[in-house]
Amino acid sequence: MTRSMDDDSFERDLFRARARQMPAPALPSVEKVIARGESRRRVQAVAFLPRMIARASNVLSKTVAPIAMMHAAAGIFVAVAWGSGVHVERARPDMSGYADRPNMSLEPPHMQGGASDSQLASVPLTMRDRSSCDAPFSAPRAQESLFTLGSSSGDSMCMDDERGMSRSCGDYVTCADGRP
């Protein structure tokens, strides 16, 4: 039988028949999605800061020591993020003796002594400093890429050099040379 291309009811029937027999997906509860949405909202409330601070520090680093500027910028960001209720972790893989708790020194006061799982789940930010990358970070792009947003709960985002916070990237972090 020849079917007219003007009439798409045949194709729609095919899709309907297909949809009917598909097993229902095992989706998370709406409460879980809302909790993640709230977490994301908290991240976004401070997410513009790393880029802004990185740009400012980049300008200043032309006259001031870059490493000192980097640490100063990191300090400002950590302080503001804490004030906004967002815990910022600062990865310091070179901190010998703190291998099990590399972020200990930057935990906010209410988390000192260990955070509960629920607290950690609401901790959406991770910030890496230059010690996690071997490559130099004098270029503006590299400096921006040092600020990485991630989450201990798997709900994560990171700064994209070109487009701002527009992609999920829980599993990779860019260093100045592009390595994870």
């Binding site: 297909r18 027999q21 997906p25 709406v30 999605v33």
Partner: protein, 182 residues
């Protein structure tokens, strides 16, 4: 979050999440990945309550977000593939996942599943997305054009060509069935 917003979001999620999941599974070719992508789509929707409050506007918008999420996941997957496999940097087009049909489905819609899946596997991602949005999910051409960033004419042509592929696939299936029945 206000109670009204929560109610609107819950309604949208319960009504649309299964459809979004089906759409994403067809785009990503992986049911587990589609689960994550569906969740991510609604987490993003949560940040746009002004749209969620208007269901007629929210549905096409959700499909646009879902498509973006699927593209991002595919890029991330391609990157991971490059790390693990240097000799196959180009990501192969995933075919939609095969399903485990229910006994009822075995009887009623086996043809629909295999024909549609086979046809979708032949389509480019954009064409596949447009066909699904139009025929499977009932979006208007104008909405599809807007969320894909294409002209209305292009959307019509792309969907027309995708339908041709679907019909050709079905015709081949019918011919095969006839030969097998003799």
């Amino acid at each position: 979050m206000e109670a009204q917003d929560r109610e609107a979001f819950t309604f949208l999620y319960e009504k649309q999440a299964p459809r979004i999941h089906r759409f994403l599974r067809d785009l990503l070719g992986d049911a587990a990945l589609a689960n994550d992508a569906t969740q991510e789509t609604f987490v993003r929707a949560y940040g746009h309550m002004e749209i969620v409050r208007e269901p007629e506007r929210a549905v096409p918008w959700l499909f646009g977000v879902a498509r973006n999420v699927s593209l991002e996941l595919r890029k991330a997957r391609a990157r991971r593939c490059r790390v693990f496999s240097d000799d196959d940097a180009e990501e192969a087009m995933p075919a939609p996942t095969s399903h485990s049909p229910t006994p009822e489905g075995e009887l009623l819609g086996r043809e629909a599943l295999s024909v549609v899946d086979a046809a979708l596997a032949k389509l480019s991602l954009d064409r596949r997305a447009m066909l699904l949005m139009s025929l499977d999910h009932g979006l208007e051409y104008a909405d599809i054009a807007q969320l894909m960033g294409f002209s209305l004419a292009k959307v019509k042509v792309e969907i027309f060509r995708a339908r041709e592929v679907l019909r050709e696939t079905f015709a081949a299936y019918e011919r095969e069935a006839e030969r097998g029945g003799r």
